[in-house]
Symmetry: C2
Subunit: 200 residues, 2 copies
């Protein structure tokens, strides 16, 4: 069973993170010092750095990649890739309870707001391309390091990135319709570009 010690650590960690995010949201990432966070969480500055090696690490989180990937795997192979992606994204986010959707939005806004965090996002993108390439490789029975597979993964992540920017720029609109707009429009656009006739 989990000892008292571990429980307390988890509590402290959560408290620091909670207060940090609250302060970031309230006054911005750059305008929030580690001191303030520590004070708000009622720990010393040293303790903050014991839990989070750097200030930006406090933003790190359970990732959605894995969720999205699961949904992607559930898509029937051989279908239209854009529609598959669309269905996967949609399933992932619409099934999210509203509270978590809101949290996700705030996290996205945050990640795009300050340079150190944008750098973090870049890391996540790189990782996501890797993970997605892995999944694609399985489905296509190709190598995960195949540049073409990685390029395909990159394309998907690029679409995702454009959705992120859209989320930032349209604070009102809900996640579902943003995804819909982007993916449906993408399908039409690609169709027009390649000379295919759009399917709807």
């Amino acid at each position: 069973m989990t000892g008292l010690r571990e429980r307390k650590k988890a509590q402290t960690r959560a408290a620091i993170q909670r207060h940090a995010l609250r302060l970031f949201r309230k006054q911005g990432y750059e305008n929030t010092t580690v001191q303030q966070i520590a004070a708000a969480a009622d720990v010393s500055e040293s303790t903050f750095f014991r839990y989070f090696p750097t200030k930006e690490d406090v933003v790190l989180w359970d990732e959605f990649d894995t969720l999205i990937l699961e949904r992607l795997r559930e898509q029937p192979p051989g279908g239209d890739p854009i529609q598959g992606l669309h269905a996967a994204l949609r399933a992932t986010f619409t099934e999210l309870p509203p509270a978590e959707q809101k949290q996700l939005r705030e996290r996205i806004d945050l990640l795009l707001s300050a340079p150190p965090l944008r750098a973090l996002l870049m890391d996540e993108l790189e990782r996501a391309i890797g993970v997605l390439a892995q999944a694609l490789a399985e489905r296509l029975d190709r190598d995960a390091n195949d540049p073409g597979v990685r390029a395909a993964a990159g394309a998907v992540i690029g679409v995702w990135l454009s959705v992120l920017f859209a989320i930032k720029d349209n604070p009102k609109t809900d996640l579902g319709s943003l995804i819909d707009d982007a993916l449906v429009g993408l399908d039409i656009g690609v169709g027009q570009l390649s000379g295919r006739r759009s399917k709807r």
Copy 2:
């Protein structure tokens, strides 16, 4: 005509940038202080900040987006979008003199190497999506802010991003073949995914 003053300013600016990049390459971005750069360029630290408001700004550069975009515009409309992108990228980079190709590689490595620069790259990606969306919108006669158009632009930029990572991870291979591998493989992959038969 340009006075002596302006010429000197341009000179100083170039000198700072040249030495900065040299030092970054030699000892890494994070291990290079503004002091060192200033000393190498034989100016005072204050002068450095007069020319470049922040340390990362010294990395900013003439962008390649515009070049790539020009090539993209030259592609025949209605063709396969992947092949069009491929041709455009290829044209842009293979026509680059070797010296500039090397410079470009180094710049890419640099941009991916340190957090503040990755943040900068993220900004460039956002801008690039915007510019590309604009170009796509013209070609498709749609709105540049259409989420679908932006998603398509995002996909292209995502492919480009995957090429950037590939460049970082394969320091040996030349730019042309990296681009070829990625784009040809992408075409095949998309074909397989969507159930189309690949074209080659």
